[in-house]
Symmetry: D2
Subunit: 271 residues, 4 copies
């Protein structure tokens, strides 16, 4: 841990060249001029975060992950963003507000699963070389640890819905593209162990869970897990902001009859 002022920075991500008539932005060793028109957004995102270009298969799977995360109706972040529109904020305040709304119980569970999986497999060397038996042992241990600490495995179970069609679809794409690896398999085994621990009752993987597994198999650090959701879902927050703004609503508020006051009445007021 090093206390730092604002005059010394180091980065391996980007260099902005600006001298002698040359103007260029270099990203991870690639010229921006080559990237614009040369690669897709998913390619550029992969490059930014991993420092290397994805294979076409990896880019395709990242695209699938981003598309799967782009929208979920007027879910909390988009609800927040629409409320902001009705209060007359800027679009950036609305999207920023929706993004900081993500918390441990909403949008944050994928990271918890990614961390738990990465810490387990990270100790075992090359993930591609980890056998099925070992993965099952780790899956079982992960489920047991989670159930001991409060009863839930992050990334499994869908509040208010029965199943999440995004999970099997994303796994299928990863399989097709050939990026399905130790983490995706571990995620499946966790689902099996979780069902076993409940007497066979399935607790389906949700989009947070599958996103964590797919991203780890693509080589991303577990700490980046939330970013896929933030970046993709910012589109939803923006689209809903614009739609609410066009509807010209104002002042989204709770109805008085839906708020119960359980405090003291003024007649009883004392000090």
């Amino acid at each position: 841990m090093a206390t730092r002022d604002m005059t010394q920075w180091e980065t391996a991500i980007c260099k902005v060249v600006s001298h002698d008539g040359e103007e260029e932005i270099v990203i991870r060793g690639h010229r921006m001029s080559d990237l614009i028109g040369g690669v897709s957004f998913a390619h550029a995102m992969f490059l930014m975060l991993q420092g290397r270009m994805p294979t076409p298969a990896q880019a395709r799977v990242l695209d699938a992950l981003l598309v799967a995360s782009i929208e979920h109706g007027i879910a909390p972040p988009s609800m927040i963003s629409r409320c902001f529109a009705s209060y007359g904020t800027s679009i950036q305040a609305a999207v920023g507000g929706g993004i900081i709304a993500f918390g441990d119980r909403m949008g944050g569970l994928g990271e918890q699963l990614a961390q738990a999986m990465a810490e387990r497999l990270g100790k075992l060397g090359d993930p591609a070389a980890i056998g099925e038996d070992r993965l099952r042992v780790e899956a079982k241990a992960l489920v047991e640890a989670a159930l001991r600490n409060g009863g839930r495995v992050p990334g499994y179970g869908i509040p208010l819905h029965g199943t999440d069609p995004r999970a099997p679809r994303l796994l299928a794409i990863a399989r097709e593209a050939g990026t399905f690896g130790a983490y995706c398999r571990l995620a499946e085994l966790i689902g099996e162990e979780l069902a076993a621990s409940r007497g066979g009752k399935a607790v389906p993987m949700n989009v947070d869970g599958v996103g964590a597994a797919v991203a780890l198999d693509l080589g991303f650090d577990w700490r980046a897990t939330r970013l896929f959701l933030l970046t993709a879902r910012s589109v939803s927050m923006g689209a809903h902001f614009l739609e609410e703004q066009a509807q010209d609503t104002t002042w989204r508020h709770l109805r008085a009859d839906q708020i119960a006051y359980t405090g003291r009445e003024p007649d009883n007021a004392g000090s």
Copy 2:
């Protein structure tokens, strides 16, 4: 303007179906299961915002716009995000903080240009049918109006840099792809008129300006202009957050010798 509570919402963007064993997310008439693996992120973003699928050429140009906006070194939003990492916040607080930092003077200028261009051409019917002469008249009028109101045309001129290589590159891609239309041409003419008003001294279009023109030619509403920057740049904010976090810095702060106190000294204190 209609005051609304939190119990009535209307949206044409998305429906979450969840009954009778059927679980599906429908986006603008398309099933999420078809979109995942079927289209790129840029396609899905276009669909979300415009309600129709882009042509491959349109998707390619949107990809180019997003890539051009994805990173600009430790520019203000990423500086903010890195500072947040050093303070120990979550990644979502850091990305949200960088996003709400966008303001009228930073990141907001593209929208101003887009609005001004859209309001002028919007009155003239089908943009494709507007002739070169008319575009030049509008460009001249737009420049004159801007110069009257404070001396700058938003989207032109690059603080601290001579030229912006992203602008000509994006225009070239739009031309190649066939999406270069009335707005891109208007933006070029604005540049010419601006130079003419300065005795021939060029004030090059910057990425905010070109982004506005390219997005309008793709059919986007001018109110969506900032979103391309917010969504794309969130990747930069995330990548810089993770890099700063890995560097384990703490408490990014200003050096005391770089702050001049110009206020009263305590010896002079009175009421």
Copy 3:
């Protein structure tokens, strides 16, 4: 307008002294050690913003303004903050989220009134010397200008409520304390002119409006108007965050039956 890097700052607000064994924070010429225990929060806030100590009467009125702004039930900013609690964010994300929710239509109207009033009276020299007749002329002109531009005078009228008991109470306190001046009187006259323009139908001043008038009479810049609300209401956001957290709710969301989908059905999907 001057482009500035991060190495040169000037402030007349505060100096942090830290050398030769002396450690002190000087605020506007006052030692922090004297302020702690010596003055109330309202005194310190006045000092921070105006650079001089308030009179006891001024501090009392500022306290009244802050108290009047501290809470309004589960109004939008506290609703946002409670939602954040249910998503598992930090208290600072929740309070920050509620604060950035303030917009032109919610919480921002006081500033609009303050600016309009300050621009009118600012040209007329010492506010204390402006006579009643002149104030009425300005009130009439302000109302007419506002009605021309869209039909509302910011700071008057209360959505969902008949009257706002905070307004007359704050004006009474200002009168008692002797800080009731040209701005408070102007605000009253605006109310009269507004009623006259509606055939006698009163449109009562709301807390945004009265706050603007009271703060201007205390000598604050109109640009500070929103801050009284932000600072005071942060207490509400914090209190509601903690209450919601203690209720252990999770995932505050909209009910599916309260969202109407008006978009295309998948069967109709084409490109």
Copy 4:
């Protein structure tokens, strides 16, 4: 944990009465009309959070805590806020941005200490009845636990400064006012034990640490600790925003010569 929609809310904090010609805001059993002009901001904040009125001594100590937290020069949150001013954001975006910047390493340490202290003394019954010996045992255990887990006790030690004059001053006020209790004493003993563990080298209590102790002795929940800082420091963020805005700076950015690029050069680019 209960999943909740947006139609059912319970609160003991506030009731907004609006019917039959009666309009009133009731806060914790007190009418807003009585509070305005009747109590100070610190009283109202205490009432909001604890549900009862403070004694005059308690209100005085809370005022001292808020004043001690109101400003610390262009420290990180105010630096953020000033940057936002230079980018042209609203004051609420700037204050919100500064607030969400608080993190585990900046502004968050007081809560960690408050939690650790509250969990220890909370088990021992009435804090007033806990003897000095027992407090020393707890102090020693708390220091040992903290040192085992990484070497620091939150709330002690001042980065970049030798001592913090706010800490002894606040403790002195608490003593004078008679609110100095088990938590303040525990905090002092922690300081002694911490020094002992370092061979006598003092690690002075900082404002985060003393704030935690003082607030707990006032009866606040440890979860409210950060709020005192957020609310008070919002004044600093607002004042610095307004000062920077008046200086008309634009685009606060890092100097290119202060950023070292350690990544690949484009010549070496491959995939």
